[in-house]
């Protein structure tokens, strides 16, 4: 008798908690094995800060977080097999309500259809290849093939390459270059951004002296550098990342005596790039574009984030930390707004995100799932550190 009263009393007291249903899970799929690891750590830190900001729970639901690696030691870079595995694992785990990733656009190509069929929301802090969301910007069947269910479940908080490649070409012209030599790593991201650069460069009247797809695993590019030197190009643009050997190219250009400027996109905007290239090869000749602002140029909420980040982790955030944070925040905000705390409920809420008070100012998701934020910046390397030069494309 006593126990019955006690247990009913207990169940009454616990009712709200029991109703709340316990735990919801956020997962991320970002490259851990490889030189992108430092960038990933930074993004994961950002996600963790977003979760801690809401006290690790939303409306009585405890938020759990799992950090998945989408790279493999064989590739030292993202791996299609691992990415597919991660996506399937997230789909199978019923408590997962949000998938943050990926860093590499090519990886999203793999996981987007898998998550789309399951109606699980995916928010990328790093993908910039336009074709993932924008009709007419990539292959003819893009982005339809990523949306087998016909509904949009993929969103990104970072501006795309059709904007970045464009401002890069404009910046090249502004720097006084008249001729360019284009290289790309033959990956989705690298080739895509080099294509945009090439198109814009031609419009601006820059002479494109050559275009080559490199082998990202070659031991050096000295022969290619000789060829570039003979072409007399004033700027070398490489569509690629640190992981696809941007550092080695910088070294070989220098050792071959190429005096051209060297411009790279945001895939190289990480300390690992300077580490791989050696500061001497980059000093005073390297230009890096980035879809967003570097941490030390942030104002308002962004500046607060940077302050909290450095206080907590004792290091400066890498470029994408802010986007990890932003992806986490927009997901949790949607979870809070969602009437039903289910995958479908969260997806609807994310889709409805309007005038979000973000770390990079106020922005919304447009009808393709892209951020409306368009802030771009250009930096160079001075004294072995990235140095902000200016806001681009304004």
């Amino acid at each position: 008798m006593n126990t019955r009263i006690l247990s009913s009393l207990l169940s009454l007291a616990l009712a709200p908690l029991a109703l709340a249903g316990g735990t919801l899970k956020v997962v991320s799929s970002l490259p851990r094995t490889g030189s992108a690891n430092a960038q990933t750590t930074s993004m994961v830190n950002g996600i963790k800060m977003a979760i801690d900001e809401v006290g690790g729970q939303v409306d009585g639901f405890k938020i759990e977080y799992e950090d998945m690696d989408d790279a493999s030691p064989q590739r030292g870079n993202w791996d299609p097999a691992v990415e597919a595995q991660n996506a399937n694992k997230a789909v199978r785990d019923e408590s997962v309500i949000g998938y943050i990733g990926t860093y590499n656009s090519g990886a999203s190509k793999i996981s987007m259809p898998i998550l789309n069929k399951a109606g699980l929301v995916m928010i990328s802090p790093g993908n910039t290849y336009p074709g993932l969301t924008k009709p007419g910007m990539g292959e003819a069947n893009e982005p339809r093939i990523y949306r087998p269910s016909g509904k949009i479940n993929y969103f990104r908080v970072v501006p795309t390459d059709d904007l970045q490649g464009r401002v890069a070409a404009e910046w090249a012209k502004e720097l006084g270059c008249k001729s360019v030599y284009l290289l790309d790593d033959r990956e989705l991201y690298g080739k895509g951004i080099a294509d945009v650069f090439e198109k814009r460069a031609k419009e601006l009247g820059l002479k494109v002296l050559g275009r080559e797809g490199i082998d990202p695993k070659a031991s050096n590019y000295k022969a290619l550098a000789n060829k570039i030197k003979a072409s007399g190009a004033e700027l070398v643009y490489f569509g690629g990342t640190t992981q696809t050997n941007a550092g080695q190219i910088a070294k070989d250009l220098r050792s071959a005596g190429v005096e051209a400027k060297y411009m790279v996109p945001d895939g190289c905007f990480e300390e690992a790039f300077i580490l791989a290239a050696g500061a001497d090869s980059l000093e005073g000749r390297t230009y890096i574009t980035f879809g967003g602002l570097p941490a030390n140029q942030l104002t308002g909420r962004g500046a607060k984030f940077r302050e909290a980040y450095t206080a907590r982790y004792k290091v400066e955030p890498e470029a994408y930390a802010l986007y990890g944070y932003e992806a986490g925040r927009v997901l949790l905000d949607a979870l809070k707004r969602a009437k039903e705390k289910t995958r479908a409920g969260v997806l609807d809420a994310v889709r409805a995100t309007k005038d979000f008070d973000g770390a990079l100012g106020t922005w919304s998701f447009d009808e393709n799932g892209d951020t409306t934020s368009r802030i771009m910046s250009g930096q160079t390397v001075e004294g072995g550190k990235f140095q902000f030069v200016k806001v681009l494309g304004q």
């Binding site: 080559e212 022969a223 290619l224 003979a230 640190t242 580490l275 001497d280």
Partner: protein, 344 residues
């Protein structure tokens, strides 16, 4: 001899391929010369590693897939030493001392490691089927790759403080990239090119002398021809094989330092690609033949440079393998390969 005729038959073909590019102009010739220098330097590094493959194959008919990764470890050893001694500050004579120190350390380390691998893994499998040996070699390769991944994560400044184990590492430029030739020649022959040539060529000569005219060399050739007969003649086969691994390892160690100083970048994965190039070179030249490995290595280095320079970088791998296939069609045992006994 026949092989030389074969090579000379290839030369006009190659020349015709890029003749349009340097249509009589001075600049064109300069660029061609430059690509040849670059190609030869790259080729020598490949050749040095290829010798390691070919020696082991010649003597125990094993394609030692771990050899490329052994070189990776060699360059990690070199970077560790360079970092510990603060070599990035050394220049001039100091730089030269540094290079010699690194060469000796890495060569010793790789020789010892290669010998240990043979002792611990391959020797117990001597009488096992060849396939067992091959699979163990692949296993060794994985172990070595992961060792270098672990090594790259050590908290040393040269490894980026250990935060990014897998990131490519910058290797201090002990040898400068300034050209040694007068500007008017419009040709860069840099100190690093000189270093590559002046380390590689003497090593190749020394190796040839060793194999041709020393007791050990004679024993090696005997074991290669017929291990059973060699042991009946009183040759300690295991010791000779051990010595082969020591020599192959030492050459790999030299190559790893030259590679690191020439490219100024090392990474835990570099062994795969350099190993693949070297293995291709060994097959192209005729696996088991040491001069073949050298010819194969140089040929691949030059073919790569010319393809990068005159065709397009993205075709380079295809060009290299097309040459390999074409060669094997006409000479199944490679350019300088002897008629082989039954091999795997």
């Amino acid at each position: 001899m026949r092989a030389i005729q074969h090579l000379s038959a290839l030369a006009p073909l190659a020349l015709a391929a890029f003749a349009h590019a340097d249509a009589g102009s001075d600049a064109g010739a300069g660029v061609l010369g430059q690509q040849l220098v670059t190609g030869l330097s790259n080729g020598m590094i490949i050749a040095l590693i290829a010798i390691g493959y070919t020696m082991v194959y010649g003597i125990i008919e094993l394609i030692n897939f771990a050899h490329g990764d052994l070189c990776t470890l060699g360059s990690f050893m070199a970077l560790t030493v360079a970092g510990a001694l603060g070599m990035e500050m050394w220049s001039g004579v100091g730089g030269l001392t540094g290079v010699i120190l690194l060469l000796v350390t890495a060569a010793t380390f790789c020789a010892a490691l290669n010998w240990s691998i043979d002792r611990a893994v391959y020797r117990p499998l001597r009488s096992a089927p060849k396939l067992t040996l091959l699979v163990s070699a692949i296993g060794c390769s994985f172990v070595l790759v992961n060792l270098s991944l672990f090594w790259g994560g050590l908290p040393m400044q040269v490894f980026g403080g250990g935060v990014a184990a897998a990131a490519p590492k910058d290797f201090p430029a002990l040898v400068s990239d300034n050209s040694l030739l007068p500007d008017a020649w419009r040709l860069n022959f840099t100190s690093s090119d000189l270093m590559v040539w002046s380390v590689t060529l003497p090593l190749m000569v020394a190796l040839t002398v060793l194999v041709r005219s020393t007791r050990l060399g004679k024993a090696m050739r005997a074991v290669a021809q017929n291990p059973t007969a060699a042991s009946l003649m009183g040759i300690n086969v295991d010791r000779v094989i051990g010595a082969t691994f020591v020599i192959g390892g030492a050459l790999g160690g030299f190559a790893s330092v030259i590679y690191a100083l020439y490219n100024n970048t090392i990474s835990f994965q570099m062994g795969y690609r350099t190993g693949m190039d070297a293995f291709t070179a060994a097959v192209l030249g005729g696996i088991g033949s040491m001069p073949g490995a050298v010819v194969g290595g140089l040929l691949i280095g030059v073919a790569r440079a010319l393809s990068d320079g005159y065709i397009e970088a993205r075709w380079t791998n295809s060009v290299v393998f097309a040459i390999l296939i074409a060669t094997l069609v006409f000479r199944p045992s490679g350019l300088l390969g002897a008629k082989l006994r039954d091999k795997v």
